[in-house]
Symmetry: D3
Subunit: 158 residues, 6 copies
């Protein structure tokens, strides 16, 4: 029986490009035989009391909501095997950046997944340095999560 791993699914949902990458990455993980899809942590499905602040802006100033959602995501990172960042070079995201830094501190394997058409474009130096590997979206479904290895991003850094 193949062993399976869990990932923290770090990805944005604010632009069309992000939404497409989000769906593509989810589909690839579902297909990947080394992934335990049911037990992966997806932040959008774990907001406090199932309240999405983008739909309920009255929670923008709610400390309890913010605090619980923030800690929920940290729990997601520390209790998953891998930190996955769906990464769009021209739409970089400060929240994903912070998650990558936290994942480093928790000893997680950090994998960036970049849409094929964007692969090679320049990315931020700190994202470049913190990741253990950066692959194309089309490679995700076959990535062997039981053999996490180190490689450089085959693209530019700024």
């Amino acid at each position: 029986m193949t062993k399976t791993k869990t990932v923290y699914f770090g990805a944005g949902w604010f632009t069309d490009k992000q939404n497409k990458a989000y769906k593509d990455a989810m589909a690839a993980l579902k297909e990947n035989p080394t992934i335990d899809f049911d037990h992966c942590y997806v932040p959008l499905q774990n907001q406090y009391k199932d309240i999405r602040v983008d739909l309920h802006p009255e929670y923008l100033h709610d400390i309890e909501w913010a605090d619980a959602t923030y800690h929920g995501d940290l729990v997601g990172i520390k209790s998953s095997d891998v930190m996955l960042g769906v990464y769009i070079p021209e739409e970089e995201d400060v929240g994903l950046g912070m998650e990558l830094g936290y994942a480093l501190s928790q000893g997680k394997y950090i994998l960036l997944v970049i849409p094929d058409e964007d692969y090679g474009k320049k990315i931020n130096l700190m994202s470049w340095g913190v990741c253990d590997n950066a692959i194309k979206m089309s490679e995700l479904k076959d990535f062997d999560f039981n053999k996490p290895r180190y490689a450089f991003y085959d693209g530019a850094v700024y």
Copy 2:
């Protein structure tokens, strides 16, 4: 004699707004009697071999340059007393995000400084959670770095 502390100066230099905030924050630190300005770490002044990749795009693919600059910044964070993030709500930056996450892992006090006119605007949930305090630019020159305390950002989070 007043004790002084050092900061890692996390700030962007890519837009007009960032450049203004950058200069304002530097001026405030210089004025602050609890800051050892000469020994603060300023990333822009510490790029590998003094090569700025924004001016020398031929280094965009240079692994040695990237690696040394990345590690230089990590050294800056771990060997400073405080992680300072000059934070502009509508121009959030993935690199600063990663630095904040790394600073958390190194046990640094994390302070966000936001231009007065932007203070209160919504910021990313992970930045909200990782910082120990978030103040206005005009408060920076008088902030007592010998009394680092915890407080919530008095603004919105998304």
Copy 3:
């Protein structure tokens, strides 16, 4: 096949109430299908050379015994998936407190389990803050250790 997780079994054995909670929690774990009971770490079963200092007070000053038992427990925490604290509000324990703090540093999911009749009573602020979730004893046998999530203790803090 259901995946299973291991826990470090943090619990006291010094009072009647503790002994009852200890047995209840052990029984619940045994029943829980997401727990690998045989490979959980139970401190009381792992004291150095099988010497229980409560029964052999001549070891109260034995540095070798103390050091090995202390490190044994740290190994138990770092090599288990989850830090479980059987927590009795009115009989709080400094040793469990320290284990909770260490578990935080090792990136473990931290779960407090409180006897149903004590659930809601006030607990120490630091225990409140360090745990990722706090549940009732009666919920333990059905808790899904493959879906560790964050929630606030539904009770008081002092």
Copy 4:
């Protein structure tokens, strides 16, 4: 000029014995020439919005108060040089236990101070193991915080 260090002042204030030890330890620190007393972190003086929950029990269920006070104390530990625990063997405290575990993760020197009349009495194994040294109250005013060293507690452990 003598260098000075800051401590996080970990101590209870719930019993007469604790209150006496609290005052004795504060007095000794004030006298100690290697301590920067003004910049030490004293939890009781740093509760959120200056609200003491023992005097204002209506805050027992206030998540914002609890969360801010909890994180305030963590900031106190990570931004002080030393973790000081005023430790009373027969009145051990779960909150101090958790602080000791967190201090371990932040790389702090951990010093227990025990009232002279209680020194030697048995203490919890985890407190025994986590501290770097354990001294008598009467030794605190002369302890050289610029020469933090390791030693075993000269007493019993259970």
Copy 5:
């Protein structure tokens, strides 16, 4: 079905004695039913671009090769369950030493395996302290990696 664990295989390949111990340890792991041999990380099989610097001395000054191989090994340690050190008392190795220190920071169970004929000989104090257990080569094939426990090296330290 028996659970299996992965190890980072820390071992030298520079002397006859090291090569023999290397082969013996690999054979024992292969036989051990609690080991997932295929997913263990073996540094010698993971040098950057499959270039062995001992065979290709022209890479002795290549920063890209060094950096990638170094980080590859760190990834191997952080993404394996256990840090295994094949340890030869009279041929101690600084690289293994650093790996042991890093494994400590990543919360790994640290196991030293010493050839039977060398077991008991004096080892360096820091290796003595950092390991969670030290066993004989002949015990490796039966070691239960699902029950990692703490014990002292039954030999000398200097």
Copy 6:
């Protein structure tokens, strides 16, 4: 007034070459105006109960001695500002290796100092990767410990 920093003095004392480097490094630190020499931690001066095991081989099997000396050195690393490794390429030492790994986990600036005549010789890959900078012995007396920066070893790695 110049700020001063403390170092953990990692160095061997087992061969003539080590002893010479030891003395040279101590002399350079004493001369360096950015060093607080009196508060640096020198392991050889901090062995438990002032017992040197090389002179008293009857302590080779003494767990209390070993444990206290080991933890004493860890305290020395975590409570100093900088990890200094006096490093001799052809006489590498497993104990120093472990100290370097531990220093990484404690967020210390890691500086290797290599005798001038050995500078450039090949060093172990893990030492190469873990250090933040590697300088010549003759540069130590003028090294600015208030400006710790990152640089690659200007020599070979194996």
